[in-house]
């Protein structure tokens, strides 16, 4: 079973349904003891980083994630869920993240590019990551975000070009994160999600 951490932000049903379409069972829960028994955890995230991380800390899920990060059980952060794996974010102020990955989340520059970065952009695969297995370089995934993690860290397995190189898929040990929405990224997203779900077995 795949546990989707419900810490009070946004709609988690789309992720649950995408997992069901991939042929796995998922449950949405805020019950830490139930989540602790899952084969893999998904840390979703929408909205503002500060709000999301405050709610996550208040939910009691933080110690569980710390434990999983250390014990090597699979965790996938999606969108702001990926961003929260980092040390801090500068979205509307300065907020501490979970700190599993080194680096910070910063806004896209005020150049000629439109912000938010919304739409289908290509994954440039640079690392050997289990969840990118079978995903072709330059496949399109669906992104919606105004802040990003730099791609210059060894944890970055794929990035996307949007004026800068923004981390699109990150991996460190059993921790995974995707900036795009796999549940909204058609066949490419389904493949990546399936690859992650396989790790739960």
């Amino acid at each position: 079973m795949i546990g989707i951490i419900d810490y009070g932000v946004g709609n988690l049903r789309n992720v649950e349904q995408a997992i069901a379409r991939a042929g796995y069972q998922a449950f949405i829960s805020s019950d830490i003891s139930a989540l602790a028994k899952a084969g893999a955890l998904i840390l979703p995230g929408v909205g503002a980083f500060g709000d999301a991380v405050a709610k996550l800390n208040g939910s009691g899920a933080r110690p569980l994630l710390d434990k999983w990060a250390a014990s090597g059980k699979p965790v996938l952060g999606i969108c702001v869920g990926m961003q929260m794996l980092y040390e801090k974010s500068y979205e509307f102020g300065e907020h501490e993240g979970l700190g599993y990955l080194k680096g910070s989340i910063t806004p896209f520059g005020q150049g000629s590019l439109k912000v938010p970065h919304i739409g289908w952009n290509q994954l440039v695969v640079i690392g050997d990551c289990p969840i990118l297995k079978g995903v072709e370089d330059k496949s399109y995934a669906y992104f919606v975000h105004s802040f990003y993690a730099k791609a210059d860290s060894p944890d970055v397995a794929a990035y996307t070009e949007y004026g800068v190189k923004a981390a699109a898929c990150v991996n460190k040990g059993s921790l995974y994160g995707v900036q795009f929405h796999p549940e909204k990224s058609s066949k490419t997203g389904a493949k990546i999600l399936s690859n992650f779900l396989e790790l739960s077995l």
């Binding site: 049903r13 439109k114 938010p116 739409g119 909204k184």
Partner: protein, 249 residues
């Protein structure tokens, strides 16, 4: 590179997709779930659902319909129609929408944009404007195109972006349903002035019209009837646009 998006729009009356011409003369077209799946499989980049009835008692039926749509497709979609409060945003997002479009509600209470931004983030807020040409400028209309607010469309769009809208959807009332092409001057003006993505809406009749909208700067192009009635096939449109040199998924 970021791809230009093709967005079929589905005007939904409770449980059915309908399409009007200049907002009037509504005709029944199809089942939203069926149509959404078909578009998704054909390569649509995103979908829009407008609740065109927007009466309170029918809205729960509409959201039930959308929940079935959300379960069936794996591309993003937007909900619009009758959105007024932060609570409306919340309900729309919970029914599976990735984005919520606000139109009349934002004109009546602009602060709802900044409240929704704080709560859910700019990425899910689409400011939708129904604009009608008035000499050298465009007026903002509300209530499904029935009431002229006297607001200047360009100024209102810029204010909306400042308040926290993450995208702008511009619908030309003059061109809506006429199939003679988007209002390119309106789109070009908005694209010059705004730093958020612009979705062109109203007027698509031929494949060339999509290319025209992208050429003047639109990030996405929305259309309804040409897709519902199979006058333009999404795969063929995307192949055509790729040939024209646009970045297309």
């Amino acid at each position: 590179m970021l791809a230009k998006r093709i967005i079929p729009c589905l005007d939904v009356d409770q449980t059915r997709v309908v399409k009007g011409r200049k907002f009037m003369d509504v005709k029944d077209v199809a089942d939203p779930v069926e149509l959404a799946k078909r578009y998704s499989e054909q390569g649509a980049d995103e979908l829009v659902f407008y609740d065109i009835t927007a009466s309170v008692q029918n809205r729960s039926i509409f959201y039930g319909t959308l929940r079935s749509v959300a379960d069936a497709i794996d591309i993003p979609f937007m909900i619009g129609g009758g959105i007024k409060t932060v609570e409306d945003f919340r309900i729309a997002l919970l029914s599976g929408a990735d984005k919520v479009s606000i139109n009349s509600g934002a004109v009546q209470n602009p602060q709802v944009i900044s409240e929704a931004k704080t709560r859910f983030g700019s990425q899910c807020i689409v400011l939708s404007i129904d604009a009608k040409r008035n000499g050298k400028s465009w007026d903002v209309y509300i209530k499904a195109g029935q009431e002229n607010t006297g607001l200047d469309a360009i100024e209102w769009a810029m204010r909306g972006a400042d308040l926290g809208a993450g995208e702008l959807c511009i619908n030309s009332i003059d061109m809506d349903g006429v199939k003679e092409g988007y209002d390119l001057e309106l789109i070009a003006t908005l694209c010059e002035r705004l730093s958020i993505p612009v979705i062109a809406s109203g007027g698509a009749g031929k494949m060339e019209h999509f290319a025209q909208a992208f050429r003047v700067g639109a990030d996405a192009a929305l259309a309804a009837s040409v897709f519902h009635y199979d006058e333009i096939k999404i795969q063929e449109l995307k192949a055509y646009l790729k040939d024209q040199g646009f970045e297309i998924r």
